[in-house]
């Protein structure tokens, strides 16, 4: 396996006339956690949504440039979005479990891909990997919406793991969670990077510093600086990065 799981080349994105991403070029390493930081509206969420083509769902979006996943451009016309999203999973800002039972939430993805046998094992394994199994094993048939916010978010992680992705995108996964739930999710991300390539968008710079190996700083649709998390936080090269990290704006 090559070192880079994802290679982004000259990516531009427009919402109507609004140039939201400008010439983004970046490599995402395999089995590492890459954090994307930056002030609100800087394009980090838009960027992460280009990696599994979630922006396809929005009208009037225009994209140029290339995103290679294991060397294959995911914007090539012959790429099947469904199997792309199976390989590149996503966890959203607000926990969004389906209004179904806990079991059905986790089994949803595998079922959508036609898996009928061994669902029980998949559900159990996924919930265990998401560190939720012990809390829900006796009530798998209960509505997922009865869980607490933190549990719901871990359920959404379990749901994503159940389709066996290679990359997991986290879009500010802790912004709606309390500090204890946040700590649990961060611990989980640390655990998950052994088996998955992880990209996480976060508002929280401490979080980026805690969980990530690499960090990218976005500002006004541009990737201002990218490098090892340690370097970004201790020796930022760009003035804007330093200003943001030290809290001078943002």
């Amino acid at each position: 396996m090559s070192e880079n799981k994802i290679e982004v080349k000259d990516l531009n994105l427009w919402y109507n006339e609004n140039h939201a991403l400008k010439n983004i070029t970046v490599d995402i390493r395999s089995n590492k956690v890459t954090a994307l930081i930056g002030p609100s509206g800087c394009g980090k969420t838009t960027f992460i949504r280009t990696l599994n083509r979630m922006n396809d769902l929005i009208d009037n979006v225009k994209i140029s440039g290339k995103v290679f996943l294991d060397g294959k451009n995911i914007y090539d016309p012959d790429v099947d979005v469904v199997s792309l999203r199976k390989r590149v999973g996503m966890v959203f800002q607000k926990p969004n479990p389906f209004p179904m039972t806990i079991y059905d939430n986790v089994a949803y993805g595998p079922k959508a891909h036609g898996i009928k046998n061994g669902l029980k094992e998949i559900v159990e394994k996924s919930l265990k990997s998401a560190a939720l199994w012990d809390e829900v094993k006796d009530r798998l048939d209960k509505p997922a919406l009865d869980l607490s916010g933190g549990q719901q978010q871990r359920l959404c992680i379990a749901r994503t793991l159940a389709v066996k992705p290679e990359v997991i995108l986290f879009d500010e996964p802790c912004s709606a969670l309390d500090p204890i739930s946040t700590a649990k999710v961060e611990e989980l991300i640390n655990e998950l990077k052994k088996n998955y390539t992880i990209v996480i968008v976060t508002h929280n710079m401490q979080q980026a510093a805690r969980v990530s190996d690499f960090t990218g700083f976005f500002l006004l649709g541009k990737l201002v600086e990218f490098g090892k998390t340690k370097d970004i936080f201790e020796r930022p090269k760009e003035r804007a990065t330093e200003d943001y990290i030290t809290g001078r704006f943002g």
């Binding site: 199997s83 999203r85 209004p99 919406l145």
Partner: protein
């Protein structure tokens, strides 16, 4: 100068009068029909066929006919209406075509019911008579189906639009196809609203006279044996009883039965809405 307090009081009184007017109107109509019609009510009235042109006997064939007609209307309008709503909301981008479809749906909704009757007469009774049996339950039911189609499409569309975007994105992010997302996430969440819309459409269909006068209804008291037979219906029976001055008592009796049927439909809608949304609370 009137103080804010008094202004609020006056406003409250005006809105109270508006609210009370609705309740009073409903009670006046229901009460009047009930009082005038209750005399006709009996088991015989509900379960027997009319005799002497409706002066005596019951209205059983008309009750049955109305049920058959609305059932056909439902079987026709539900799949097409919900399908169109899914297409408009999920399978196409907002633009010229969706706007044109919506404009036409709204225009269809504004077409008077007698025009639907004429259309049904021309299409089903005349042109397609080899398939519909001419004047028949099928012809009348399909005509009613066309009439309630706009209601079904619009209410279903509203119901589908209330499904949270985050639920849909969650499904797509797991690599689910559009069809799978519609079946497993969108329709279950939208179902309470869709069912309510369908039943309210049914209530409208059950209460219409004009669309079935030329297409399905007959006056002779026969029990239909298939959907290719003509039938009596409550509204047309009521119309004949009144316009020919046959029996005021039985006319009000028929009206009472019709109103009760529609009330039952409306309450069923409400019950189903609550029942189907019990798992959707968040």
């Amino acid at each position: 100068m009137i103080s804010a307090y008094v202004k609020d009081k006056i406003a409250k009184a005006i809105f109270w009068i508006s609210g009370m007017t609705i309740i009073l109107t409903l009670f006046a109509i229901l009460g009047y029909v009930a009082v005038k019609g209750i005399g006709a009510m009996s088991l015989e009235f509900l379960l027997e066929i009319p005799r002497a042109a409706g002066r005596e006997g019951g209205i059983f064939p008309a009750i049955l006919g109305t049920l058959y007609l609305t059932a056909i209307a439902l079987l026709f309008a539900a799949p097409i209406g919900v399908g169109a709503a899914i297409y408009l909301t999920e399978f196409t981008k907002e633009g010229r075509i969706t706007n044109i479809i919506r404009l036409w749906v709204d225009t269809l909704n504004a077409v008077p019911s007698i025009v639907f009757g004429l259309f049904g007469f021309a299409l089903f009774v005349f042109y397609l008579r080899d398939y519909t049996g001419g004047v028949s339950i099928l012809s009348g039911g399909l005509t009613l189906g066309f009439m309630i189609l706009p209601t079904v499409i619009r209410t279903s569309e509203v119901a589908i639009k209330t499904v949270p975007k985050s639920d849909k994105e969650g499904s797509y992010a797991l690599g689910a196809t559009k069809l799978y997302t519609v079946r497993k996430v969108i329709l279950p969440s939208a179902l309470p609203g869709i069912v309510t819309g369908l039943i309210l459409g049914l209530g409208r269909a059950a209460g219409e006279t004009a669309p079935i006068i030329f297409t399905a209804a007959v006056l002779n008291p026969i029990l239909p044996t298939s959907i290719f037979d003509p039938t009596m219906a409550l509204t047309t029976h009521l119309y004949t009883l009144t316009s020919e001055g046959i029996s005021e008592r039985n006319a009000f009796g028929t009206a009472l039965v019709l109103i009760i049927m529609i009330l039952i439909l409306n309450y069923t809608a409400r019950f189903l809405d609550n029942y189907l949304s019990r798992n959707l609370k968040r």
